[in-house]
Symmetry: C4
Subunit: 275 residues, 4 copies
């Protein structure tokens, strides 16, 4: 079966099944990391003033690689327009534009940090590896706890709005609570136990209220933890319960079941069929 | 069956079963959000000085809507006096009073933040939606862990009182621990791992004591988390363990099982034997 | 059966079975709280200067009550010497001594905060109430996780020692890490995620090392939480598994067991024997 | 069976089975602690100026003991070269070198803190004690959650890179975010809820972004906790679920069961069928 050159390029760039495809993805992650290091180091004044020229050359090398990669993707994609409009298509374009635009305009350089979003491609590489099962188990546990987590985050935000409004009233601008949005920011900083200390209550009433909020936030962290724990306990138990009924194909039997729970037929023993 | 206009209004305003009732609740939440944004933005100096007039007009529009809503609720409620004395009745009144009082007195405007409490109505809307089961499962888990959580919070407060009193003695006013209540506030800030840093121990003995408190607080957070996790693990397991086989008496069948997993006999359906 | 007056007093003061005994304990907690509030408020300068006299009178009233209580306990205790040497005996004495000594010496007043330890008596009152079962379940879970928690705290302390020594070397006194004990204090503040910010790494190497410590500490908090969660999951499961074998008296059968796991005799059904 | 002196010394120094071996390990831990205390106290200026001479003598005593121990280990080890290249071999050498080098060069003294790594030997002592089973259960739970934890830490680092780059763009050097690596450090400080406050966002957009990061970090801590909890729940349950009834095949018997809980037949003992 003969492949055209375009199909071969596509399988290397977009696919992860072939050896060349895996190698391409790993090499791309490497270049993304180099690019991120270059941008990061350029932002450090002392390094920029000493090694600025080297960094700028590396910057152009990385941009050149990304540009060629982007053009190859556009050319080899099954649906180029669909790729160009996809999340990664837009990120790929935005990660090369600032450097090219820097030739014409000034000040666009700093937008190159959008390149950081490319690091998300690492999750594609994870797909290849042994982490796949773990990642999907984590993802499933998080997905099935989503409704509970939405309820939880909603409650936290209600508490933040109410406490923020009250603290603006109690402490006032003279103690650093200049506006209600700022007071809400403080409430989030406090409730999540981050506690920068750039804004802190000064009046006894404000401190008493902050204490209540802290103990609440302290207890409240138990909720998402409990949700995820419960999901993972069940997720990994389900893992051990995968025997398939030879009669009706039902799975998900418990470890001590000897008859199919759907049709009643005797099940194969755990030893013969599974992990 | 003919409804009077008052009954129709009541079913829209208080009810959540009809389409109009749901729409009203969602629209009300929208207006509450707009009202909160207006009050929040008014508290930001730079926005107030530029868009103050627009915000004041919006403020009056929201107040007008809330006033009409309050009057309609009073008129259509089955027991108007009971509504007026209920939590939401008082909040509804307090959220419109400050704006009207601002016509006569000055300085009452800031009390309008009481309106933030109206955001709690969002939990009524949640009742409608798919989150109902999740919210009630969370609430049940929290309710059944309440005695454990009271014991836990009591222990934390005892530790706070003892450590606060000792730290006032050890560090003293010259290191920022001006009074025992302030030292207790510091103990809460430390034990909940918020750690503002506005007050921090300076003497070696105080720092040693603070270290013990931190490691205690670090370990102690495990307790409410463990409580809620255990409750949620059981809550979602109980879900699966309700039906008993009429043949062999085995329980612990999964929710989608139709045959006993041990003897293969058909199980009674979930509907007949209970939730 | 006639009781002597001493026996009656003893049952009221030390016992918790009779109504008078319960009332005494609750009233005592009330007086302890009043005493703590008085000491706390005396330490606040603005309150002390305005209401100092009232507070001093209240202080003497509380001290008088505590003195009478102490003498009654000494008199009515079955073994007075044993009581006087017990933890609460010493605390009870220490909580009245400073006020009396204040008549002779100056500066002993501040030692009155030792009275805060009396608040621990609240755990005696909890014994009476419905919280008993919960408290003992929590205590059992914590006790059976003790070896794991010792291993865990030991590991945390090792990390603190190593990181503290290294950070003193990396950052040095010029960045606030004046000595190794202080650097260890910083390591504890960081690892427990308290993060006061009074000491913070300034050099890039120190910040990188702090980042590793933070992510470690972040993950490490999962360990005590996991330990306590697992214990509580098992503790509350065991609770449902209490049926007693009529043949050999063995308990602790699982909820779906129909035969005693020790002697093989058929078990009574869960419905008949209780909760 | 006659032992040579070298074999006896080896069993005492390297072994933990004999009484002398246990005693040697415990004594060594004691000397390590003394050595760490000496180094720590030497770093405190006020103590150094008063007790400097005593500390220097103690320092040389500890160094002498460590030197003799190192030479004995080299002499008695079955494979001296292998020991010298092992982790503890290098640490043992590095913990004595700085003091000896201090006789010739100046400034090498501070390197003596490498001695802190010797504290890791404490884990060898734990092997002896009752904590062995607990430690290994913890270690097993952590090991089997490793892939999940790698996926989790990877996701956290991706978030840190993206948020760090964006915050450098949003806040800029004028608000303390001098470079991208510094902004990433801030992102780690925030996401782990440490929150020093030495760097904190000042612009409204930056504060909004920080709020999102905090709530994310708050929820994200639930993940490692859930992972470890689930592992520990299963680890201690697996302990109970090893034996299968020869009559009916039921598993899930408790560790102290002697008869099948379903059919009443005698169970095989735990010893025969494996831990």
């Amino acid at each position: 079966m003969a492949f055209t050159m375009r199909e071969t390029v596509r399988s290397v760039i977009f696919g992860t099944e072939t050896f060349a495809g895996k190698l391409f993805d790993v090499a791309l992650i490497g270049v993304i990391f180099v690019g991120l290091c270059v941008v990061s180091l350029e932002s450090v004044d002392s390094i920029e003033s000493n090694y600025g020229d080297t960094l700028r050359i590396l910057e152009w090398v990385v941009t050149a690689i990304f540009t060629i990669e982007y053009l190859l993707r556009l050319w080899s994609a099954a649906h180029p327009a669909a790729y160009a409009r996809s999340f990664f298509g837009v990120v790929d374009l935005l990660s090369i534009l600032p450097t090219w635009a820097g030739l014409v305009f000034t000040g666009t350089q700093s937008l190159v940090v959008i390149r950081a979003l490319r690091i998300l491609r690492i999750f594609r590489v994870l797909k290849l590896a042994q982490f796949s099962r773990e990642a999907s188990q984590l993802a499933r546990a998080l997905r099935s706890s989503r409704p509970k987590i939405i309820v939880f985050v909603g409650s936290v935000l209600c508490a933040v709005i109410i406490v923020g409004a009250l603290m603006h009233l109690i402490e006032g601008p003279e103690n650093g609570f200049h506006s209600i949005p700022l007071a809400m920011y403080w409430a989030i900083v406090t409730m999540t136990t981050v506690g920068y200390g750039d804004i802190a209550p000064q009046t006894p009433v404000g401190q008493a209220m902050a204490s209540v909020l802290m103990i609440m936030g302290y207890g409240v962290i138990a909720v998402p933890t409990g949700i995820v724990s419960a999901e993972l306990v069940h997720a990994s138990r389900d893992h051990h319960e995968r025997r398939e009924c030879l009669g009706c194909g039902a799975r998900d039997h418990e470890s001590d079941a000897r008859h199919c729970k759907l049709c009643g037929r005797a099940l194969p023993s755990g030893r013969e069929t599974g992990s």
